[in-house]
Symmetry: C2
Subunit: 219 residues, 2 copies
């Protein structure tokens, strides 16, 4: 489990196939896991036979859909030039804000829901894929920032993984599970910004290096 799944979807998929997957994605958001092949075919204006020829079976279609969405959210890593407390704080806040926006988006919720369902009866690796492109991709992008902060003497931790997980917890808190379980969490742009700032300050309070001024501790 949890191998990177490096295949770049945009290479091996034709324009038309991508359109079909987009349709499947929209339908997944609307209908959840109980979308039917017929519905996908109708929505995508293609025949079921084509669906089966391209994607094998229903699980194949779901797999391709999830990977397709994953391939769309690739983001460039942050360059670590001139790191001071200000830019580090900004980076962390930006990560937190982006992450909150992602997990509260309709498509993320829908995708996580199907992945969780399928993780129960292990017929495919949807859970692994979502995990890989969600939580683990985030870690891979954030860890260099944390380590750069450490080398710049701004942060103090033993294990980047542990530090990351703490940051993850401070940012996400109970939001994701509540959303997945259908709770209506108020997440406007403003509250996201506030939460990102709060989480960042708390993280800095926990892992900021004792040497050097940490400046403002909001509260």
């Amino acid at each position: 489990m949890l191998q990177p799944a490096e295949i770049d979807a945009s290479e091996t998929l034709t324009e038309r196939q991508q359109a079909v997957l987009d349709a499947a994605l929209r339908l997944l958001v609307e209908e959840g896991d109980n979308l039917t092949m017929t519905a996908v075919a109708r929505r995508a204006s293609c025949s079921k036979e084509t669906l089966y020829k391209w994607f094998g079976d229903r699980d194949g279609l779901l797999n391709a859909t999830v990977q397709w969405q994953a391939s769309k959210v690739r983001v460039a890593a942050i360059d670590r030039e001139r790191l001071d407390i200000g830019s580090l704080t900004a980076s962390l806040e930006r990560f937190a804000s982006d992450w909150l926006k992602v997990i509260s988006s309709d498509t993320s919720i829908a995708l996580n829901r199907v992945a969780v369902s399928h993780a129960g009866s292990g017929k495919d690796d949807l859970g692994a894929i979502v995990l890989q492109n969600g939580r683990f991709a985030l870690a891979k992008r954030l860890k260099p920032v944390l380590e750069a902060g450490q080398q710049a003497g701004l942060l103090d931790f033993e294990d980047a993984e542990t530090a990351f997980r703490t940051f993850f917890g401070l940012v996400g808190r109970d939001v994701q599970i509540r959303l997945l379980l259908g709770d209506r969490v108020e997440l406007t742009g403003a509250t996201i910004g506030g939460d990102a700032a709060r989480a960042t300050q708390q993280f800095l309070a926990l892992f900021g290096a004792k040497t050097g001024p940490l400046a403002h501790r909001a509260g």
Copy 2:
């Protein structure tokens, strides 16, 4: 959504019905959401007709099963007598440890999985029930402790809800979503204890009152 669901299951259910629900629960853990009425009937050594007479339909059975499990984990609140930094720390650690044990248990994972699935297509309130007896029940039990800590001058926060959510995040971090998505997270008794202690210390570092000694900051 999210009304308390105060009905006490152990009152209105006969011994036999509880046994049937226990069987359904075990099956739910093993099979996930794709358990069949036939399988439940066979496992419980009862007839399908009885199942339908007692619980209406499949969703009714699932609902009753989830509520039945929920009714089993009622826990007494903590009495707030003589609160010092030691007992407060112990309480928090105990909460954290209990919570980690719960969310990493097979039945919790299975229940959360079905609830998440069903939250997608809103045919019932499984998500609300799980939320109510999980995250919100925890808050209800923990908040008095936090407020007692505040009144004792040990903690400093403006909003108990916010403080609780931070604690929740520090304890859970990425564990629950990883488990739900099928990742094998190493959670032995020892690591749970360590995580609970770490989360508690981090929480105290963030919300411990500046006045008064906070003693050991493990790190």
